[in-house]
């Protein structure tokens, strides 16, 4: 058993370190204490099973891994909280300087508060655990300089028994106290069954070829899903969406007017609970919602509206969509629908009112608002199609049309007057 106890002559391959073999965990512990006391720092012990007390015997300090885990756990916690605040509860108006696809949005679900800790805790918890666990595993590997595809010790025939019934101390040549002769002397005096030198690896340091091929193939396959995603995002298709899992977008549900046995009236549609108002349905501002001020037609715009050029432009756009077909682009009551009806002599056709004559000019704003909302004579109501704010914008534009059709020379800016005939 004593063969190979002499260090190799310096002419051989470079020395990687010295390996000493022991028969029992007790001998290993004693040897480790001696090596520790001799002041070595770059060395390790190897055993087939965990040996109690080896940490103290080797003088290993407690690992700093818990701090890494703690930092990443806190990071996961903060990330989970920030992610949910950003995507569900941030006000995009305050972050309008960001591109639209990076802005969050106020995402209301079932009347819950936009930001509420009880709902956020599961995601915070999972992200905390996830980042902490990843930091534990990856940090443990990194602190141990793993993974490595090759280590010179593994080429040592004797070392194979480290996984069955032998215990080893290995001191690397990189240790500042390492000296081939003195270290060999120290290890020989520890009562082990053998001491031998380990040559630096003669094998090439590159990865095995099969591993390189396998990695390349896996990376190529990993590129496929992003490619499919990119194709889906940047091309158009008439095919319906593929649903691998039938999600909430496609679930059983009751439709309007269906029967439901659970309720006494057998209707799946539920009437509004008496005495309640649905969110956004509280219309307690008669000026804004009905165009009335203490029972009379309003003659002013509701105070919450700011009458600006962009507001009138909005009104122009809405007017051209909803009103111009009958009332005409200039508001004179000569829209193409009316022209066609007159051309075909449609019986009973009432010519639309001109919006720019004196009668309409003198009408209060609220009266016009009411006409748009509820219709008049053969004009249908538009209240369901045009939101209140747009109705007021249309009125502002109609007022502009009236002004333009009844303008005097003084209304034209001085510098533009020469252009008039």
């Amino acid at each position: 058993m004593k063969h190979g106890t002499k260090p190799r002559p310096p002419a051989g391959p470079e020395l990687h370190g010295l390996l000493a073999e022991f028969d029992s965990p007790g001998a290993l512990l004693t040897a480790a204490e001696r090596v520790r006391d001799a002041g070595y720092t770059k060395w390790d012990t190897h055993s087939p099973f965990p040996v109690h007390g080896i940490d103290e015997a080797m003088g290993i300090r407690r690992t700093r891994l818990p701090w890494l885990v703690f930092v990443f756990g806190v990071l996961g916690c903060v990330t989970g909280l920030a992610l949910q605040w950003w995507t569900n509860a941030s006000d995009s108006r305050e972050f309008s300087f960001l591109p639209a696809h990076l802005q969050g949005y106020a995402f209301e679900i079932g009347g819950k508060p936009l930001f509420s800790l009880p709902a956020n805790i599961p995601v915070i918890f999972e992200l905390t655990v996830l980042l902490a666990a990843l930091a534990t595993v990856i940090g443990m590997f990194a602190m141990n300089n793993l993974p490595r595809h090759h280590a010179p010790l593994l080429a040592q025939e004797r070392f194979k028994r480290a996984t069955t019934d032998r215990f080893f101390v290995f001191i690397t040549a990189a240790d500042p106290k390492f000296n081939a002769t003195r270290t060999h002397h120290l290890l020989s005096g520890l009562g082990g069954s053998a001491v031998e030198s380990v040559a630096a690896s003669s094998e090439p340091a590159h990865l095995p070829r099969s591993l390189i091929y396998a990695t390349t193939i896996v990376i190529c396959l990993l590129l496929l899903p992003p490619l499919f995603v990119a194709k889906a995002r940047f091309t158009k298709s008439a095919e319906p969406r593929i649903q691998l899992i039938r999600d909430m977008g496609n679930q059983e549900r009751y439709k309007t007017q269906q029967v439901h046995a659970l309720f006494v009236d057998n209707r799946a549609m539920r009437p509004q609970v008496p005495g309640t108002v649905a969110r956004g349905d509280l219309r307690d501002d008669a000026h804004y919602y009905e165009g009335k001020v203490s029972g009379d037609w309003a003659t002013t715009y509701p105070p919450q509206l700011e009458i600006s050029e962009s507001f009138v432009r909005r009104g122009q756009q809405r007017f051209n969509i909803y009103c111009a077909a009958c009332h005409g682009l200039g508001g004179a009551g000569d829209g193409i629908v009316s022209q066609r009806a007159l051309a075909r002599d449609t019986p009973g056709w009432t010519v639309p009112t001109s919006l720019v004559n004196q009668t309409v000019i003198e009408r209060p704003l609220g009266h016009i608002f009411n006409t748009i909302t509820n219709g008049i004579r053969t004009m249908p109501p538009y209240g369901d199609q045009i939101p209140e704010q747009d109705r007021w914008a249309i009125i502002a534009y109609v007022r502009a049309l009236e002004r333009s059709q009844n303008a005097h020379l003084e209304d034209v800016p001085v510098e533009l007057r020469p252009e008039l005939r």
């Binding site: 965990p50 109690h52 007390g53 079932g110 819950k112 009880p118 709902a119 805790i121 599961p122």
Partner: protein, 410 residues
């Protein structure tokens, strides 16, 4: 530590028999005095208040014994070596279950006699006016309830007696086959334990609000039992070692592991309690939120809820997460006292509020809550300490004892 410790050192705990007898005697006297004071204060506060306080403090001592029974079963189930020197104390704590079975009688005698007790579904006039309770009467009726309770206590007493007696019999004959037998029975025992504790929690505590239901309820009660038990175990070991006993049998390594388990179950309790809360909060269905309504409705109960959140989870989580406090017995014992207080508060939060819609009593906290704590606590301690006057504090000839004595955390 030397695993081949001489027998004389293992038997050192025999000196403890006289002080143990004194403690048991004092605890018994204090317990009976507390019970008498409880009856007296209950007489003036009304029987409903008395029975609620009794159920609260009874649940507290019962949860410690049930936690101990779980610990004993678990150590056998996983063939644990490290915990052998702690196991006898848990066997003693579980051994109080026959006494606790007797102490359950004051709660069921009113039902037997057809008087209104603490559970409102047992009152015929309440059921007659309540269609939901009529629908549940197939399960929530007095004879079936009594039969179920008898079954739970039968299972617990048989298991507790079996494990205690096998273990102390091994002290004299040293038969390893007793260890194998206890191991074999631990698996079916654990199954029975899980079912009985779950259904007991439903019957005794959830049915205080008989309209309400929570499918996680059994686990919630169980998690509290374990928090209470590990805190109690740490405190018990600390107090016994303060009397100069077990100094070399239970080391800082064992404290460390009790601390880890206490920490783990604190987190488990929070996980379960929050799981129950969040689903009910999120769905916001009246028949489920009704349980939380009286518990958040006024300042007192909202404060109790928040104290549970911070005192039963956040504070012990931060206190026990690092290695240091778990390896300092004094600090761990301090944390254990705090956790026991919080465990009591958790049960107070469960038991005391009346169901939503019922008139709350004048005060949320009564003198009976305190006197009955002293009474039932005293009797529990007496029942726990009395066996220490007869038997050793550790399983002296358990085959795995050397492993426990040499135990070290890696």
């Amino acid at each position: 530590m030397n695993p081949n410790m001489p027998q004389s050192e293992l038997s050192a705990s025999r000196d403890f028999r006289r002080p143990a007898a004194r403690v048991a005697g004092v605890a018994c006297v204090v317990g009976i005095a507390g019970l008498a004071a409880g009856v007296a204060s209950g007489y003036s506060a009304g029987w409903e208040v008395f029975f609620r306080s009794y159920l609260l403090n009874y649940s507290f001592v019962l949860s410690l014994a049930l936690g101990a029974l779980f610990f004993v079963l678990l150590q056998h189930l996983v063939r644990a070596g490290w915990s052998v020197s702690l196991r006898r104390l848990a066997e003693f704590a579980a051994g109080t279950l026959p006494v606790l079975a007797l102490l359950f009688l004051p709660l069921v005698i009113p039902l037997w006699k057809g008087m209104p007790g603490v559970w409102m579904w047992s009152a015929p006039d309440v059921v007659a006016a309540d269609p939901v309770l009529q629908a549940k009467a197939a399960y929530l009726n007095v004879p079936f309830f009594l039969a179920r309770c008898a079954f739970y206590f039968l299972v617990w007493c048989v298991l507790a007696r079996y494990y205690l007696h096998q273990s102390v019999a091994q002290d004299t004959d040293g038969q390893p086959r007793r260890t194998l037998a206890m191991q074999w029975w631990s698996a079916p025992g654990m199954l029975l334990y899980g079912l009985t504790v779950t259904f007991f929690a439903i019957d005794a505590l959830m049915s205080l609000n008989p309209h309400w239901f929570s499918t996680i309820w059994g686990v919630y009660f169980f998690s509290g039992c374990l928090v209470g038990f590990f805190a109690f175990l740490a405190l018990l070991v600390y107090l016994i070692q303060g009397r100069g006993q077990l100094a070399s049998h239970i080391t800082v390594e064992h404290y460390h592991d009790i601390g880890k388990l206490a920490f783990g179950f604190v987190v488990f309790w929070a996980y379960i309690a929050f799981s129950q809360y969040m689903l009910i909060w999120y769905a916001n269905i009246p028949e489920e939120t009704v349980w939380y309504l009286p518990r958040q409705g006024d300042t007192w109960w909202l404060s109790v809820s928040l104290l549970l959140l911070f005192g039963h989870f956040v504070a012990p989580f931060l206190a026990l997460i690092s290695r240091g406090p778990k390896r300092r017995p004094g600090l761990l014992a301090l944390a254990a006292v705090w956790l026991l207080l919080m465990h009591w508060l958790d049960l107070y939060y469960i038991v005391t509020p009346r169901p939503s819609g019922f008139a709350a009593p004048a005060a949320p906290l009564h003198l009976t809550d305190l006197t009955l704590f002293v009474g039932l606590g005293g009797l529990f301690v007496a029942a726990l300490v009395w066996p220490m006057t007869r038997w050793s504090l550790i399983p002296e000839r358990d085959p795995r004892l050397p492993e426990a004595l040499a135990f070290r955390n890696i």
